[in-house]
Symmetry: C2
Subunit: 295 residues, 2 copies
């Protein structure tokens, strides 16, 4: 191979929405010769085969990984350690590894534990893309197109390894951003994990009441938007919250302090303070929407 | 007139989205001969005239109201008392009055103060409809179609008066629900006012930080949905929060207790409790969406 952005053999652990879309995107870009899939259930694997997401189903991890150019770990966060432990001893010298987890400090800690002196071959990643549905059937080649993909490279990574992983995500259409793992986790605690927790909390609180049917019957479009993320996957979000516990607790405490301020304004009937806070929020929200529209 | 659902003359105070759509809907139903509009600015009134929302602009409140069959008060909540004070002495014996305010206990208190022995002619209402835009130009005949309209009749109302007001909102396409004013305010504190406050709080908190640009740059679709209502009108929401202060403080305290529970689960790494709460929320959110889809 003369082109650093070309992959002869890619191995994907987890052939659902995330892993499947990665494979389809690389194939659509014509930059991979063969995709081999590993998965937990025969059903999802055979579906991935039928849909052309993978060319083969893998059976021997050592054999497949040692000859792979690129490995993507796209399993639920709770299984990441197990996959790392199994692939670490088998990595070829040419193999680079990336992941797609929503939190990064915990993934780096697990990687440090399992990869040993191969740690430099792993470049952590978090593609900021998702969809209502999950599973291989939901995978699509354009899932990552024009979406942010955060890389959190490690001091042990060589520039060549980072460039290879970066190239893979760019072939998927991703817009690459580089952050420190800790910085990544703080940012996503604020703009993703906390909002999910807040939305789950509201709906759970209402769902526990005796008059829940009456309450839900009067909920309208504002409620619909605010609570859309409360329909997210419970186990996945349990794992994300636990994995990013420290940063999330910090964000939750900041938010409670903010609520306390608004509560005090409301209690004393201070309309000017309420309006100032609402106005600040509206301006920021509108500026954000306008910025998004430009990209 | 022989038909109780027919209005010869309707007077609308406030010819923006809410009042304008009410007038357009009654006209589209062919159930009003003449609509007379009062408003704060000449600009909005002449626009309402041009758009065919009103047939005439009113100048003499006493004259217009005394011969009106139906009066809608659709002014910002802060001006409701003033309008009630001005129309109260002029109501004809045939005139029925309704409003469109988002809170009801405060409106009833103001009405009690100003309408005196004419209180029975006023039936409070809250149409659960809104739109991204406001003003006469945003008004449309179908704004209330298939939307809930909550009536909170008073002990002083005769059945005939309630039936007249009900008929007007039904002609607009509304689905009528009847609640006690206090019950109304509790329900909407929970499913509308609190979510708005929570969404404003999140965006305001992020907007105050030094790294706000970085944070907003990584916000994605979950954040977009959760914060859509943080772009709502600051003065309007200031007024709603103040008007419904007691019920909203109560809801806010319940919510903070719920957050404290989740915080404790997170702190002690109790994944089972987190997952149970998230799962309860997801089930309730999905059931609600399914119910909505049926109507």
């Amino acid at each position: 191979m003369t082109d650093a952005s070309l992959f002869d053999k890619v191995v994907v652990f987890g052939v659902g929405l995330i892993g499947g879309s990665f494979a389809l995107a690389l194939k659509a870009a014509g930059q991979v010769r063969e995709v081999v899939g590993f998965g937990r259930t025969l059903g999802s694997l055979s579906q991935a085969l039928e849909l052309g997401i993978v060319d083969r189903v893998g059976f021997n991890i050592g054999q497949e990984v040692s000859s792979a150019d690129l490995v993507l770990i796209a399993v639920p966060v709770g299984r990441t350690a197990e996959v790392m432990a199994r692939i670490a001893p088998c990595l070829g010298t040419q193999t680079v590894v990336t992941d797609a987890g929503s939190t990064k400090s915990d993934v780096v800690a697990v990687a440090r534990e399992h990869f040993g002196d191969r740690l430099g071959q792993f470049v952590p990643a978090h593609p900021i893309a998702g969809a209502e549905n999950s599973g291989a059937a939901a995978a699509r080649a354009d899932l990552y197109r024009q979406k942010h993909v955060v890389l959190t490279p490690l001091p042990e990574n060589t520039p060549r390894v980072v460039a290879r992983v970066r190239a893979a995500w760019e072939l998927c259409g991703g817009l690459i951003k580089v952050l420190d793992p800790g910085e990544h986790d703080q940012v996503f605690a604020a703009v993703s994990h906390l909002p999910h927790l807040l939305s789950f909390a509201l709906v759970h609180d209402l769902a526990r009441r005796d008059n829940r049917e009456q309450l839900f019957s009067f909920a309208a479009s504002g409620f619909r938007d605010f609570t859309r993320i409360a329909a997210s996957h419970p186990e996945m979000w349990r794992d994300i919250c636990l994995a990013n516990r420290v940063a999330l607790l910090d964000e939750l405490d900041r938010y409670r302090a903010q609520l306390d301020e608004l509560r005090a304004s409301l209690q004393r009937g201070d309309g000017a303070s309420l309006e100032a806070a609402f106005d600040s929020a509206r301006s920021a929200r509108r500026a954000w929407t306008d910025d998004k529209a430009k990209t």
